[in-house]
């Protein structure tokens, strides 16, 4: 005969059934566990399944005849980035690393983009956004602003994979409420622990993942979101006057990042439905993703590059929404100076105040 042993969800100790209370009691931490709760937790754990790989079934669209005529590929000797443009563009520097583009070849191969979000902001607006980006940054070196010369400003269509996904989620949240009270001798803290189970579905449309190796993924995520409803069917005409980067990370490689973000969002969205508790944390998560489609898109990005004390600084602006990002250098001397000023003045004020107060006590 097998001896069944259950573990306390609070401390992990073996728990036993208390006939008087008709509940399970933990002899180690004195927790009282409802039989029903333990049973359903057990069932849920058994139901948890391994995530099945998703079959996206994407084959992509091929270029139509004549579309690639007049398009050339500029290859960077330094970072191996490739950009596409028309023959008249005459690109001189790489938008990714700022090095001179030395090689030009006829555009060929790769899939034809499904959709494109056309540029809605101009180069002038990008420059204005950069100026605004400097404002209010006390620790930005002054000379960086004054002597800063942009190497080049380029409007680039960056390749993205867009994923449509439906998620089925079963999530166990560990939720607590805390109550405090006191009597004449002791302060009491009562922590009530709940299991909040949520099961449901959530859909995502066109979650973007950067498909360019040369483009910094974090930089591209930082300028999100893109308003995907404004995407239109791809036409080569949209590329006129801009560079385009062809994908070198395929959809299969990109899906992992999309899944990660979708799972995080699902867990977070369902957690918002667990209300009335002081703390909520996901304990067991089981999310199955179902493909709703995949799409190859070109999204508009303004790339601005500059150099400072031997380091490259790249700024990016969402060519659709105008959201501007880019890390700035730190003026270490200003940092020290401000630190000492604030520390000195605050110390002097507080010291004077404390000594005056003590004098009058």
């Amino acid at each position: 005969m097998d001896l069944l042993e259950y573990k306390c969800p609070n401390c992990g100790g073996a728990i036993g059934f208390d006939p008087a209370k008709q509940e399970l009691l933990c002899p180690y931490c004195d927790s009282v566990i409802s039989v029903e709760a333990l049973k359903s937790m057990d069932e849920e754990l058994q139901r948890a399944q391994e995530n099945q790989p998703i079959d996206w079934g994407y084959e992509g669209e091929q270029w139509r005849e004549g579309e690639q005529a007049g398009m050339v590929v500029y290859s960077c000797n330094s970072c191996s980035g490739e950009i596409i443009g028309d023959e008249t563009l005459g690109a001189t520097t790489c938008p990714f690393c700022g090095n001179a583009v030395v090689m030009t070849s006829k555009f060929a191969g790769t899939l034809r983009p499904d959709v494109v979000i056309p540029f809605k902001t101009s180069k002038k607006e990008a420059l204005a956004a950069l100026e605004k980006h400097y404002v209010g940054k006390r620790l930005l070196p002054r000379v960086f602003k004054d002597r800063n010369h942009l190497d080049e400003i380029k409007g680039v269509y960056v390749p993205f994979w867009l994923f449509d996904v439906d998620a089925n989620a079963q999530i166990d949240y560990h939720a607590t409420t805390v109550r405090f009270w006191s009597d004449s001798d002791y302060n009491y803290t009562e922590t009530s622990v709940y299991r909040a189970y949520r099961e449901g579905t959530i859909g995502f449309n066109r979650v973007p993942v950067d498909g360019s190796e040369a483009m910094d993924d974090t930089l591209m995520e930082a300028i999100e979101p893109f308003e995907m409803q404004e995407a239109v069917d791809f036409q080569t005409a949209y590329l006129a006057g801009y560079f385009a980067n062809k994908y070198d990370v395929d959809a299969e490689q990109s899906v992992e990042r999309a899944n990660e973000r979708i799972k995080n969002s699902t867990e977070s969205a369902f957690a918002e439905t667990v209300q009335g508790y002081d703390t909520v944390a996901a304990r067991n998560t089981n999310i199955q993703l179902q493909s709703g489609g995949i799409c190859y898109a070109l999204l508009p990005v303004w790339l601005l590059g500059t150099s400072w004390q031997g380091n490259k600084y790249t700024f990016a602006m969402n060519g659709q929404t105008g959201k501007f990002v880019g890390d700035l250098p730190l003026d270490k001397a200003a940092y020290k100076s401000w630190f000492l000023k604030i520390f000195g003045i605050t110390t002097a004020v507080l010291l004077a105040a404390s000594q005056i107060i003590v004098t009058f006590l």
Binding site: A175, Y335, L351
Partner: protein
């Protein structure tokens, strides 16, 4: 045992009164008031108990004795007769109480005479024996007996009013140990006299080698009262008494002192002189005490006795607060400078990963099929609450042996 003892009734021995002569009480200091014929008490216990009995006898003018005997007397006496014989044998005075316990026959007898008859009745005598009988050891029993008799004597005001002197018997600085040199003693006495006269409030300092069984504040109160200190009918004044053997000190004040020295105020008074006492700087301690009492009385006369809310900080406390002010200022300034400059530093960083995909959630696509909240378990933890520092720190009112109200406290230095 108690019931067996009560077989005998309590008989008043009137004859005893006649044979006891008044001059004998003068020799009270030489009497043996605690007699143990069966060897249940150690010598030190006998000495301690005898000292307590002597003190009660001197305080109230009533001899209080105890005899622990075998039943050997039975061949010649009855229990009352033997009690009378013991009373005579010990040269006890015309006012007296004696408890005799026959440990072999389990019998007891209480006899009382003179002014003791004013406070002891048959019932009260039984109460006194009950107090004795409730304790476990012989020593504790006899202490309980003596305390019970003393309580009766004190509550009935049996201490002879005449025994308390109307005028001051001693100088305001009494040093039975020789802590101060002659010059210091003179200077201190002069200061105590000046303050006492000006404030019409006796300020007394006494140093004795050791306490008897009494608490230091009670010893101080009795010393103050029995030596005629105090101004006016309320005996306005205060005394600081040191017992050097065990480094005890007691403070007691009566009359206007009950107003001037609140329990919280007494804690402040201690802060003025205790630091000196702890360093054996007795002269400085007594001078600080005298100045402190002067200040306390002045404040109380102005209608603002030192109490919660108006206790000034001592120089040491102020120094500590100033030092804390420096540390706190430095730490707060450091945290503030770090916080502000860090937030400015963070402004320079705007390239961050986006780990969520909230912006791409299809509108109306969130559907909850199961929503189930279940209670799992509950834990209650408790932590001891910090006690109020002011609570139970002494400084409350109490009665001296004669029943006079005092305020004060005891402590070690």
């Amino acid at each position: 045992m108690n019931k067996k003892y009560r077989i005998l009734t309590i008989i008043l021995i009137a004859v005893l009164l006649a044979v006891l002569a008044a001059p004998i009480s003068v020799l009270a200091a030489e009497k043996t008031l605690i007699v143990d014929e069966i060897g249940k008490l150690s010598d030190s216990e006998k000495a301690t108990l005898n000292a307590q009995a002597q003190r009660i006898s001197e305080t109230y003018g009533v001899d209080v004795a105890f005899f622990l005997v075998t039943d050997a007397y039975k061949t010649d006496y009855t229990l009352p007769e033997y009690t009378e014989a013991c009373y005579k044998k010990q040269n006890m005075g015309q006012n007296g109480v004696i408890l005799l316990v026959d440990e072999v026959s389990m019998k007891w007898y209480i006899a009382y005479t003179g002014t003791a008859m004013d406070v002891l009745t048959e019932q009260k005598a039984e109460d006194v024996f009950d107090a004795y009988d409730e304790e476990d050891t012989y020593y504790d029993r006899i202490v309980a007996y003596l305390n019970a008799v003393e309580t009766l004597l004190s509550t009935q005001g049996s201490a002879s009013v005449n025994s308390l002197p109307a005028d001051r018997q001693l100088p305001r600085f009494v040093d039975k140990v020789g802590l101060l040199n002659e010059q210091q003693a003179e200077q201190l006495t002069k200061k105590l006299d000046e303050i006492s006269q000006r404030q019409q409030f006796d300020v007394v300092v006494a140093v004795v080698p050791e306490l008897d069984h009494r608490e230091a504040r009670l010893f101080a109160a009795d010393f103050y009262e029995q030596n005629g200190f105090g101004f006016g009918k309320d005996m306005d004044g205060a005394i600081l008494l040191l017992a050097t053997k065990d480094r005890d000190f007691g403070f007691a004040s009566c009359g206007f002192g009950l107003t001037a020295f609140t329990p919280v105020g007494q804690e402040y008074l201690d802060k003025l002189f205790l630091p000196y006492l702890k360093k054996d700087q007795y002269f400085e301690a007594f001078m600080a005490y005298a100045d402190g009492v002067d200040d306390f009385v002045t404040k109380a006369k102005a209608g603002e006795p030192y109490d919660k809310g108006n206790i000034p900080k001592t120089p040491e406390e102020k120094f500590k607060m100033r030092l804390n002010g420096v540390w706190i200022s430095l730490v707060v300034a450091l945290l503030l400078a770090l916080g502000i400059t860090s937030s400015w530093k963070r402004q320079l960083i705007s390239v961050r990963r986006e780990d969520l995909a909230h912006a791409y959630v299809r509108e109306g696509s969130v559907i909850l099929n199961v929503q189930n909240d279940q209670f799992l378990y509950r834990n209650v933890s408790r932590t001891l609450r910090p006690k109020d520092k002011d609570r139970g720190s002494g400084g409350g009112s109490f009665s001296s042996s004669s029943g006079t109200s005092f305020t004060g406290h005891s402590g070690k230095y």
